[in-house]
């Protein structure tokens, strides 16, 4: 691999450093004698880093591997290959007690606030569990900490003995946030935290996440498919397509000067709530569907739908290159 991948240059400010991460899921056939007949290449050789205290947005359509990336970083899936440095230590090489201790520093907020809370546990137990698991607090101290966490996420501390079904979607998501905060993590993977919520509730949760980041100096990997929300919350944004990062740059640069044809199409497809603007807009309508990650196209992964495809795109994979300082693109038309 070339040296132009966006790995860390200055070590000091980087919390999470992902290098050549691959997450392939085997496809097995046969009942007694299982053999692997292929792989779902959910994440295929991606590299990026997240600076301390920043929010990196990860956008892409369903099935592009953005959630898998988040899970592989936290070692909820063991990556097929590659390295994930968290504060200088490679998580992929860790196991057992060492890894468990590191997990205290990284947490996750899930998409579905209905499925990610155990319906048989009280709110107090849900938020208190990580405190006990990691030996942070017990008994009365734990109860007090849980109540404080409820206050922090804007819920009434009096709710500790209630069950998840007594809460609305937005309130449940607040409980999920409180659970993630319980162990005082440095890094939180937010996996589509607002997609399942109602429009009028979304802004509440986004503001909460931003306030908490400021208050506790959190670092976020914010996974979402909604480009307007990602633009609002992120410092830098990575665009994924079929297991690869197509473009990665600062928020301003990505939305004002998108260089990859996929990013351009994606941005043009987002509807804007203004009929006057909508009338004048010209959309780039992509043809067809996303190919299967089991058998991605040869060459550039986007070549089957790209409106400006060239011959070389169908045969050779473009390099993920830094074309301007801090702006990485994988496209034969840009910087090659």
């Amino acid at each position: 691999m070339t040296t132009t991948t966006p790995t860390s240059t200055s070590k000091d400010n980087i919390l999470v450093d992902v290098r050549h991460l691959r997450m392939w899921f085997p496809i097995n056939r046969g009942i007694i004698i299982q053999r692997t007949v292929g792989y779902v290449k959910a994440v295929d050789d991606i590299s990026f880093f997240v600076r301390r205290g920043e929010t990196l947005g990860l956008v892409g359509e369903s099935g592009c591997g953005k959630s898998t990336t988040g899970r592989a970083i936290l070692q909820l899936y063991r990556p097929t290959s590659g390295e994930v440095y968290f504060d200088g230590q490679d998580l992929c090489k860790m196991k057992g007690e060492d890894l468990r201790r590191m997990r205290r520093r990284m947490q996750m907020i899930f998409q579905d606030p209905y499925a990610s809370l155990n319906p048989r546990m009280t709110v107090g137990n849900i938020i208190g569990e990580p405190l006990e698991v990691h030996g942070i607090a017990r008994g009365r101290e734990k109860r007090e900490r849980v109540q404080e966490l409820l206050r922090v996420v804007g819920l009434n501390p009096y709710f500790v003995n209630r069950y998840p079904h007594e809460f609305s979607g937005g309130q449940r998501q607040r409980i999920g946030v409180a659970r993630a905060l319980a162990v005082n993590p440095d890094f939180i993977v937010c996996d589509e935290p607002i997609s399942a919520l109602d429009v009028s509730i979304r802004a509440q949760i986004i503001n909460l996440l931003e306030e908490l980041q400021e208050q506790f100096g959190l670092t976020y990997l914010f996974i979402a498919h909604d480009l307007s929300v990602v633009r609002h919350i992120s410092n830098r944004v990575a665009v994924m397509y079929l297991g690869k990062i197509m473009e990665l740059t600062s928020r301003e640069e990505l939305y004002e000067n998108p260089l990859h044809p996929y990013t351009q199409a994606l941005l043009s497809a987002v509807p804007i709530p203004d009929p006057v603007v909508e009338e004048k807009r010209r959309r780039i309508i992509l043809e067809g569907d996303v190919p299967s990650p089991v058998n991605p196209p040869k060459g550039c992964n986007f070549c089957t739908r790209c409106p400006v495809v060239m011959e070389i795109c169908k045969n050779e994979e473009p390099e993920f290159k830094e074309v301007q300082p801090g702006h990485w693109v994988a496209c034969w038309r840009v910087g090659h």
Binding site: S168, V199, I201, A203, H225, L267, A269, P271, P275, E278
Partner: protein, 327 residues
């Protein structure tokens, strides 16, 4: 343009163990021939129950249409016999649903599903229906329609299944197509394809469309008029440019302000609507939005405001004139 559908005082309730859910509370609106009406609202605001009531697809019990009229083509859809209703459904008015994964029958081929309405309503034989089905699938942009017509739904992607649903919806040249969040389950690039397709088909066929969504962006580029619903009421209704350019109801204003927009510079903070939508079993007296409303006055907590005209075709249900910030 003539009136195609006129709904008057529609009221639908669900009788559950926990009490009566007031899903739709006496709403009135109309759709003209060839126009697109957007119905916007959050989950539980009654937007789907409203159209299911008109189509007489509400499961009864627990649901019940307790009042109102729905005039379509000189007949009240809520009064005609089930037999007559079946002549309307899928023929004159057709509906496409949110989830293309679950609204197609997995054990029937695409041909069987698309041609069913053609044989039933238009009296075609199997051969004619097959030919017409292929034409319809081509019209909605399914490649190699002639061979794919024998496939089963699982062999299609989400976007393609939604195209099949649209083909089914269009099969009998309906005068009214009701689309209930048809792009919500799809990715943005696929959503853009479907929106483009619907706009093009509308130009070609000239049918009227009711487009239900929670996404303010989708309706902005598609609808002629918009109804905003909240807690089973229409709280604002008007031409699309008025609703977005000059919203008058605090809820509409709040909704538009709370979503980040790609064409605006990034704001420090989003302005959320505080609080939660009301419980429909025990709705607050007065205006349903009052507990969350920043313009709330005493009257709002006691009396529910009627929908009143503020400008040509633009109606708002609010006691406060938000523009002048007074009652």
């Amino acid at each position: 343009m003539g009136r195609l559908l006129e709904v008057k005082g529609l009221r639908t309730q669900f009788f559950t163990q926990d009490g009566v859910v007031h899903a739709v509370n006496g709403i009135s609106y109309h759709v003209d021939e060839g126009e697109t009406l957007g119905i916007v609202g959050e989950s539980g605001c009654g937007k789907t129950v409203n159209v299911l009531s008109i189509m007489r697809l509400i499961p009864q019990p627990p649901g019940k249409i307790v009042g109102g009229e729905a005039w379509f083509d000189g007949r009240d859809l809520l009064k005609i016999s089930e037999e007559e209703m079946r002549q309307v459904r899928g023929n004159r008015i057709s509906m496409i649903f949110q989830d293309p994964m679950t609204s197609l029958n997995p054990v029937l081929t695409i041909e069987q599903q698309v041609s069913e309405a053609l044989m039933l309503h238009l009296g075609m034989d199997r051969k004619q229906a097959r030919k017409r089905s292929i034409e319809l699938l081509e019209m909605v942009g399914i490649p190699e329609a002639a061979s794919r017509i024998d496939d089963y739904p699982h062999q299609f992607s989400g976007g393609m299944r939604q195209r099949v649903m649209i083909a089914m919806g269009l099969s009998c040249n309906p005068q009214l197509l009701i689309a209930d969040e048809p792009t919500t389950a799809l990715d943005v690039t696929i959503q853009a394809q479907i929106l483009e397709l619907v706009k093009q088909l509308k130009r070609e066929i000239g049918m009227a469309v009711i487009w239900i969504t929670h996404d303010l962006g989708v309706v902005a580029g598609l609808a002629d008029r918009v109804n905003v619903m909240y807690a089973g009421y229409i709280i604002e209704s008007g031409p699309v440019k008025d609703i977005y350019g000059d919203p008058r109801h605090p809820y509409t204003i709040g909704l538009l302000r709370s979503v980040p927009r790609l064409d605006e510079s990034v704001k420090e903070k989003l302005i959320p609507i505080e609080g939660l939508p009301p419980d429909l079993i025990d709705p607050p007296p007065g205006c349903p939005f009052a507990p969350r409303c920043q313009y709330q006055i005493e009257k709002c907590l006691k009396e529910n405001p009627p929908l009143e005209t503020v400008a040509r075709g633009h109606m708002v249900a609010c006691w406060v004139d938000v523009k002048r910030k007074g009652a």
